[in-house]
């Protein structure tokens, strides 16, 4: 039986790859090239690459120039995020865990801000000391969280029956979608300080977060608008017939359903946002990519950029994968009973 299946395998191989002379040559060339590339990569990984540039700077990649005796603070934050992800994905289905998961996720944000910025018993840290993966995560979390309500407001505004609000929202969304992200980020870093009155200063991290929020909320608004439009009018009629008022219908019937429909698109935006934070390296924030660049500027590690960028790619890939898995989990739990639209 086993022999038979092996024979079939070889027969298929012959039929598909070594059909005639020309095909055989082509197949061999492709195989050889692939093999050589793999071999070279492998050799570089093991023998040529000098991974000290990664291993001796791990704390820099993680925390940037955060004061070294306070580094337990961002470490606790990132670990708690990781633990929470693990519990969400494969934790036991105890009722109290399921009920408090959302609360736990929400509380990671004030916890993170408290741990990173200090105050109330912890020594305060200036935001120029933030860096590395910590800063990348902070940028992603804060921008996506701020842009969600703003995006909802814009989406509702675009559907509004008041012409002024409708026009303003449409113009805002169209303008933001017509400007490249990097231009918005430059605007945030260079122009906002000029517009603000003397004495008021927003630090660079928060200027970046606001710029991301302004940009991403336009896209989120369009995603949510798609959700809003797919809710049938009969839902609104049913809600009206129960005596709910306009505001309650929005809050209890329309927005929850629209968010659920828009969820795949929204998680897509969050993952995109995470990757786009790397643009801040150009504007001088030392987030994950920025810290890599500044390590490369160190004479000790000069010229080792392949190692650094391979490492950074791995880190970005890892975080994005975790986010994607979490997003899929969220979609599954939320859409489990949704067949009746």
């Amino acid at each position: 039986m086993k022999l038979y299946s092996i024979m079939i395998f070889f027969k298929k191989l012959k039929k598909n790859i070594f059909l005639n002379f020309f095909n055989t040559i082509l197949s061999l060339v492709i195989l050889l090239t692939t093999l050589l590339v793999c071999l070279n990569t492998f050799r570089w990984f093991i023998f040529n690459a000098d991974w000290r540039v990664v291993t001796s700077n791990l704390s820099l990649y993680a925390f940037g120039s955060f004061p070294s005796d306070e580094q337990w603070r961002p470490a606790i934050w990132i670990t708690s995020l990781l633990l929470l992800s693990i519990i969400t994905l494969c934790g036991p289905c105890w009722k109290w865990i399921q009920q408090n998961l959302l609360l736990a996720w929400m509380s990671t944000i004030p916890l993170g801000l408290y741990l990173l910025y200090g105050g109330f018993g912890l020594s305060p840290i200036m935001s120029r000391h933030l860096g590395g993966l910590t800063l990348t995560i902070l940028l992603t979390v804060c921008s996506s969280l701020l842009s969600l309500p703003f995006g909802i407001v814009l989406a509702l505004g675009r559907q509004s029956s008041l012409p002024l609000i409708q026009k303003l929202s449409s113009i805002y969304i169209d303008v933001m979608r017509a400007i490249p992200l990097i231009a918005v980020l430059f605007f945030g870093q260079l122009l906002i300080p000029l517009f603000l009155p003397v004495g008021i200063e927003i630090d660079r991290v928060w200027r970046a977060i606001f710029a991301f929020t302004l940009f991403v909320s336009a896209y989120i608004a369009e995603d949510i608008r798609g959700g809003l439009q797919s809710i049938p009018n009969t839902q609104i009629e049913a809600a009206h017939s129960l005596g709910l008022n306009q505001y309650q219908i929005m809050q209890l019937i329309i927005i929850p359903q629209a968010l659920r429909i828009a969820l795949p698109a929204l998680t897509n935006q969050a993952i995109g946002l995470f990757q786009n934070t790397s643009l801040m390296a150009i504007l001088g924030l030392v987030e994950l990519l920025g810290i890599g660049r500044s390590i490369l500027a160190n004479p000790e590690f000069i010229g080792q950029y392949i190692e650094v960028y391979v490492w950074l790619a791995c880190v970005y890939w890892l975080v994005c994968t975790i986010m994607a898995i979490l997003a899929r989990h969220l979609e599954q739990t939320m859409t489990i009973n949704q067949t009746n639209f």
Binding site: T234, Q235, E237, A238, A239, H240, S241, L242, G243, L244, N245, Q248, L252, I253, P256, Q257, R260, N337, Q338, T339, N340, F341
Partner: protein
């Protein structure tokens, strides 16, 4: 006997000539069941939807539970009516993102500001009455059409309404599922609920209704007791319609 709904000369026209409602007048007294019949497009759905303000009308007067509305469609008065009138739709229109019990407690909690626990208790009582209390934690998508429609009735009852409107409640159901919904409606009628029902179910109309109103192209053709209507309808048009219906 107190009149619950008094409609006087309701008229609603779409583009010129086409009238959805043409001088419709009717009275429904407390505890009575009115069945509205008619071919599709005759305006029966439009009529029943004006009673809780889902449709506007151009001329005429409407008095529902002592609240008078006219063509100006006063939003606050309509809101008052909606809090006291329940409605059941052809397509159930349950909220798919809420569980069965949440569907039912939504309006009592948010419109009548009742306590969550009290609303849930009453919701479970209603589900029990409808024979579907075992599904309370499920979602609408997991239920059959007949079960969903019974949930919709329970949802309409949750506000303790004084009038129930049914807009073709069994038209979207499998033939085997129709009876479970009709039985629930029969029980309600026995309990003395005032109901206006748009339906094609002759059996239900014969058993339960106190009056049958027959409409065609926006006009009331005849209003009779079911005995008269089904055995010896006054109007030629009604007889023709009944003939068509019985052939099926």
């Amino acid at each position: 006997m107190e009149p619950i709904v008094i409609a006087k000369n309701l008229t609603k026209s779409y583009i010129q000539g086409l009238r959805a409602l043409d001088n419709v007048s009717l009275t429904v007294n407390q505890g009575k069941v009115l069945v509205v019949m008619g071919p599709s497009g005759s305006g029966k759905s439009t009529l029943i939807r004006t009673f809780n303000g889902l449709e506007t009308f151009d001329r005429g007067e409407l008095n529902v539970l002592g609240i008078k509305i006219d063509a100006t469609h006063n939003e606050r008065k309509i809101q008052k009516i909606r809090k006291r009138v329940g409605m059941v739709f052809q397509q159930f229109n349950l909220f798919p993102h809420l569980s069965i019990l949440e569907n039912i407690t939504l309006a009592p909690v948010h419109v009548q500001k009742r306590h969550q626990l009290e609303a849930e208790e009453y919701g479970m009582y209603l589900l029990n009455q409808m024979g579907i209390d075992s599904h309370a934690k499920k979602y609408p998508g997991q239920l059959s059409g007949g079960e969903q429609q019974r949930v919709a009735i329970a949802r309409a009852l949750a506000l303790k309404p004084e009038l129930l409107l049914f807009d073709e409640p069994t038209s979207a159901l499998d033939p085997e599922r129709i009876n479970e919904v009709l039985d629930a409606m029969r029980r309600l009628a026995k309990q003395g609920m005032t109901m206006i029902v748009v339906t094609h179910e002759i059996g239900f109309a014969k058993d339960v209704s106190d009056q049958v109103l027959f409409m065609d192209s926006g006009k009331v053709i005849e209003t009779s007791t079911p005995d008269v209507f089904f055995s010896n309808a006054k109007h030629e048009r009604s007889r023709k319609f009944l003939n068509q219906l019985e052939k099926h």
